[in-house]
Amino acid sequence: MYDMLCPGCGHRTAMMILDELIENHKLKEKVIFALDVACCSLLIDFVNYDSIMCAHGRVLDVTKGYKEIRKENIVISYMGDGAAYSIGMEEMLHSARRNDDALIIVINNGLYSMTGGQKSPTYIDVKSQNDRITTTNSLDKPRQVYNGFLIENVISKLPINYLARASLTDKDNIDIAKKYIEKALKKYINIGGFNMVELLSPCPTNYKLTPKDMIDRINNEFTKIYKIMEFVDA
């Protein structure tokens, strides 16, 4: 499955979790899968759900419009960190403010991966490694410091239903991710409202690491800043 993704890519793991949950809960006939562009959009040829490829950063608007008309459908908003926190931040904030009925999966790898690995707002500078890994580094002049971007600091106080972060690295973490996504899905079905899970996701291709080193980097460096936990469970 999902053969077009790079080796070690987190999208594959995320999709396998979603596929399994949808299968277990027998929801396939109700699912509308709305994806953002770039790496996310590669999934559209492989998913078995009615799907929409949205403009960059506009997934939450499109799903809001859809859900207003067909309340019985399970509309999954699936996007990367660029769409969620960069170009689509306004949509994210207002969707949270309204507590829209939304099930949101954000794949956070700290990079704009499809365009070759430029830093996104969620990137973290790591001093211990040779930091020439992204295409937008410039070592010989002052540059912007990247300390990550924590969505929990932004939307936790808004009237949302569920917000959690997990990581797609090893078995234990994937089990946690599965648990959080299932919880978000159940809340979305039973209560509605804004339910979001962010997934720290490996991108070995653009970090120029082996899949194993990439996972170590997430487990050792990313998680110092990006805490794996539930932030809002209303």
Binding site: Y49, G65, K67, E68, I69, R70, N73, E90
Partner: protein, 343 residues
């Protein structure tokens, strides 16, 4: 039942008559009456209303609602319309229908709020990225504003393409006595492409048709060829024996109708063609006019945007003149004396 209402209110009632299910929008002068109408009355008429954080959000919500089978509408002006271009381009590429009302305002950038027809090129030539057109319908009276939403949705659904309805702020804010059409109910399951969930085993995908249509080039060119051939709409006044013809839409068309009446009384063989579809341009209106020698294009922009289309579609066969203005509409006497000058 008749009501004395302005063009924007007539458009809102017309939208109800067309059976709209969903309205998303952001207020901007001179289109705000429509936004206010739905903010106040959406619940009463059972229309879903979402006040959005920007025009970008509004148009993308329209896209989502259309994909769910709704008749979805957004209304905007000027720079708000510019913000919508990305999603309009997406919907054209994905073959998703929708209707957008653009009440034109003056100038580029922020401009100002007086009457204008400066968005002609942006609406008829694209506006967003890529290879596409939107069907553009113009209104010149409250009656047009009342009837146009239904035609707009029918064309949008027939060709699965965004349709833009447009008029200027004179039409938007001029009150006329108009028959209110009754509200109708849209069936959200009537269109084949609507996403409802994969019940057949084969998922439906909303993405640029380029990705799944092997005959993309043909599909695309056929679509617009058929639109250009079959959907030309125009009105004509006293054109049969006309030696001079005025071409004008929206408020200018109203003024020119009076000009023609006066000119005819003075024995001047003057006619008027009012394009209702700005895209496709109604080139058929100019067939079979044996006496025609001169064309005067009256429009509220400085760069002669519609004149270029008139010249092109009439194959540069006549002598062309322009009356252009910004902010103020030329009066009947202004146009009449110009006609006498060029006669």
């Amino acid at each position: 039942m008749k009501k004395f209402i302005n063009g924007n209110e007539a458009f809102a009632y017309g939208a109800l008559a067309s059976g709209i299910d969903f309205y998303a929008g952001y207020p901007i002068t001179p289109s705000t009456d429509v936004y206010e109408f739905f903010e106040k009355n959406a619940e009463k008429y059972n229309v879903k209303f979402v006040p959005t954080s920007s025009e970008v959000s509004a148009i993308n919500m329209i896209m989502g609602a259309s994909i769910a089978g709704a008749r979805a509408l957004t209304v905007t002006s000027g720079c708000g319309f510019s913000l919508m271009q990305e999603a309009i381009s997406y919907m054209a590429s994905d073959f998703v229908p929708c209707v957008i009302l653009n009440v034109m305002r003056e100038g580029a950038g922020l401009g100002d709020i007086p009457r204008s027809q400066g968005d002609y090129d942006q609406m008829t030539k694209g506006g967003g990225n890529g290879d596409y057109h939107t069907i553009v319908l113009s209104c010149k009276s409250c009656k047009d504003c009342m009837e146009m939403p239904n035609l707009a949705f029918e064309l949008a659904e027939k060709y699965r393409n965004p349709v833009i309805v447009t008029y200027d702020s004179d039409i938007a804010h001029t009150k006329e006595n108009v028959e209110i059409l009754a509200q109708t109910k849209n069936n959200i399951d009537k269109l084949n492409f609507t996403l409802k969930g994969n019940k057949t085993g084969k998922p439906k995908l909303i993405q640029n048709v380029y990705y799944h249509d092997k005959n993309y080039n043909e599909t695309l060119s056929n679509k617009y060829n058929i639109i250009e051939e079959k959907e030309q709409r125009f009105e004509e006044y006293e054109t049969n024996d006309a030696e001079i013809i005025l071409v004008a839409f929206s408020i200018c068309a109203r003024v020119c109708m009076d000009v023609v009446k006066r000119a005819r009384k003075e024995g001047i063989k003057l006619g008027l063609i009012v394009p209702i579809t700005l895209y496709p341009f109604p080139k058929n209106a100019f067939l079979n006019l044996p006496s025609l020698k001169k064309i005067i294009v009256v429009e509220l922009n400085i760069l002669k945007q519609m004149r270029k289309d008139v010249e092109y579609y009439t194959k540069f066969r006549y002598e062309y003149f322009s009356i252009n203005s910004m902010s103020t509409c030329p009066t009947v006497l202004d146009i009449l004396s110009f006609v006498k000058e060029v006669k």
